[in-house]
Symmetry: C2
Subunit: 342 residues, 2 copies
């Protein structure tokens, strides 16, 4: 098998972007051998500019430089390079800048410019896709490039792949899932250890599960972004966040939990998208589930999703690690699947 060399450009060098580079370094030889693809990182864009070497960056040195734009500065100095304007001259863009759900932020312009330059796109952050799904897809279709975003739709829990490949040929009638690990951890702790919402949130923050600003998670917005992308991809909708009915978990009290427990039920934050006679409804809200229902059994930071189909019945997927390395692995998977030659 002849190896194919693929030039990768990475935008954003935060925790997940750096994990992606680490995986390229650790897994490079195995990927070449298994999939016939040599992945070469030629550029990384940070806040201060674009680190570019058409012959491939030295991954070991880059990783040793730390993370963020400071690391790019340091690498440039070490190799006597200058940071420059970002150029999109590679085979695939891996987009990992912070999620901006207001207008997509820099991610959106990176993605559109990559597409204009005939690059395939693998998105890790959700903002661009959530705010401009149809624009991105139309542009990609016109230029005949591909866009993948496993990292933005529950990452190591396979959702998009399963919908697109494993269920190809089926009509997906309904998707429902627990798509956010932080809120599931909070609800699990409230149920199992009888903590208040505030106590459970603090614990999640102490453990590094919840971010310092947990608003996106606890408001249900993160779950809404994921189910929105799944609906747009798999149920042929053309929706934005404004079309999603969102209720978060902030208002849930120990009394609510007790009441559920007394009825033999459990409260979970459920994201769902389902076909109705007049279209598709998408919503995120806390739902009381029977204790023995499969989604009720998903505990802690675990996630899970159900697909209801016409031909293959119901397929349920649970698990997938939720650390940054696993998110990076989801992007790596997308890159491999775009270019594999095995």
């Amino acid at each position: 098998m002849m190896n194919r060399k693929i030039n990768v450009i990475l935008t954003g060098f935060g925790t997940v972007g750096r994990e992606f580079v680490r995986l390229l370094e650790e897994k490079g030889p195995t990927i070449q051998q298994t999939y016939g693809v040599e992945l070469q990182l030629v550029g990384v864009a940070g806040r201060n500019g674009f680190l570019y070497d058409p012959d491939g960056l030295d991954l070991e040195t880059l990783l040793a430089c730390g993370k963020g734009s400071a690391a790019l500065d340091q690498y440039a100095k070490h190799h006597q390079l200058s940071l420059q304007e970002t150029v999109f001259c590679g085979d695939v863009l891996v987009e990992s800048t912070p999620t901006d759900i207001v207008d997509g932020g820099p991610a959106l312009s990176y993605i559109m410019r990559a597409i204009d330059n005939q690059m395939d796109v693998v998105a890790l952050s959700k903002g661009a896709l959530v705010t401009a799904y149809r624009d991105i897809m139309n542009a990609a279709k016109a230029i005949k490039v591909r866009v993948r975003y496993s990292g933005a739709t529950a990452a190591a829990l396979p959702t998009l792949d399963v919908g697109m490949y494993s269920l190809a040929g089926c009509r997906i009638e309904r998707i429902e899932g627990i798509l956010n690990g932080t809120t599931n951890y909070i609800l699990t702790k409230m149920h199992e250890d009888r903590l208040t919402f505030e106590q459970a949130l603090s614990l999640a923050q102490e453990k590094g599960i919840a971010e310092t600003n947990p608003a996106l998670d606890i408001s249900g917005t993160d779950s809404a972004c994921k189910i929105l992308l799944l609906a747009n991809s798999l149920l042929d909708t053309d929706c934005t966040l404004r079309d999603v009915r969102i209720v978060g978990v902030e208002g849930i009290t120990p009394k609510d939990i007790e009441r559920s427990r007394a009825r033999g039920k459990r409260i979970k934050l459920i994201a769902k998208a389902y076909r109705e006679s007049d279209g598709v409804s998408i919503e995120v809200s806390p739902v009381e589930l029977e204790q023995d229902s499969p989604l009720a059994g998903i505990a802690g930071t675990n996630k899970g999703v159900w697909f209801h189909t016409d031909l293959m019945g119901t397929v349920c997927i649970v698990g997938g690690a939720s650390h940054p390395r696993a998110a990076a692995a989801a992007a790596l998977k997308d890159v491999i699947n775009l270019f594999r030659r095995d």
Copy 2:
């Protein structure tokens, strides 16, 4: 999007083969529209010969003729055709003859001849792959064609796809699952309704869940075939059924079930393949699981599988309908994924 016309040859016109044709008829227009592929059935091989029309068979008439080789005879008569020697002049073979795990049976020769004629292969039956996995794969690699077999590895429960695509880039350390619906139904009935093995088997036969000759299922052989194919595909082994330690469910008594119940456990027929220091072990046997373990919760004819990976943690998939239509849908999925242009 320009549609691509794909000529399909089907071998075997039993229950599942016929369901495949029915799906081609029902879903043809949607498949064209969604995936840019026009699937045209040009030939069907049965015991009495090969029904062939290079312009495409008339699916509605074929379905109206019933099933099996009698249906092919009737169609030929109706259209003033003669059954002939099988010719492999299409883009893809869909192999659906009965599973023969002794030497692969006609399926093996069909598959090898299709590969020789540069056709891709989608297998529904297990026999050829179980008996000659390496030969088939080597031949396919040499001719540069592709072989898919979702229908032979738990069908509507996605296993092979998830391992190949959703977990691409990961090292799969261990696969374990409940891969046979009939034995899971029997064990569920023994546990929940305190039936004896014989009573549960009779019930499964009455309901059409177990076949008249249930030997392949209850001996654990069917599960062994599936885990063997998953190991060969995803753990780089080159094993045959002789390498699989197999214990079936025939010997399980109500006393065994009671003993498990008293310990808060459940007996399940678990198929597993896992890496050890000196290679990969593959085995099928009844295992006592904790009541609250996720595989213990898989009841009735449901199936499920766990993948343990280095990068993405554990991913568990449960469900997938187990009727013939769902098995046919698994083959249709494979065909779509081989040729899709969306």
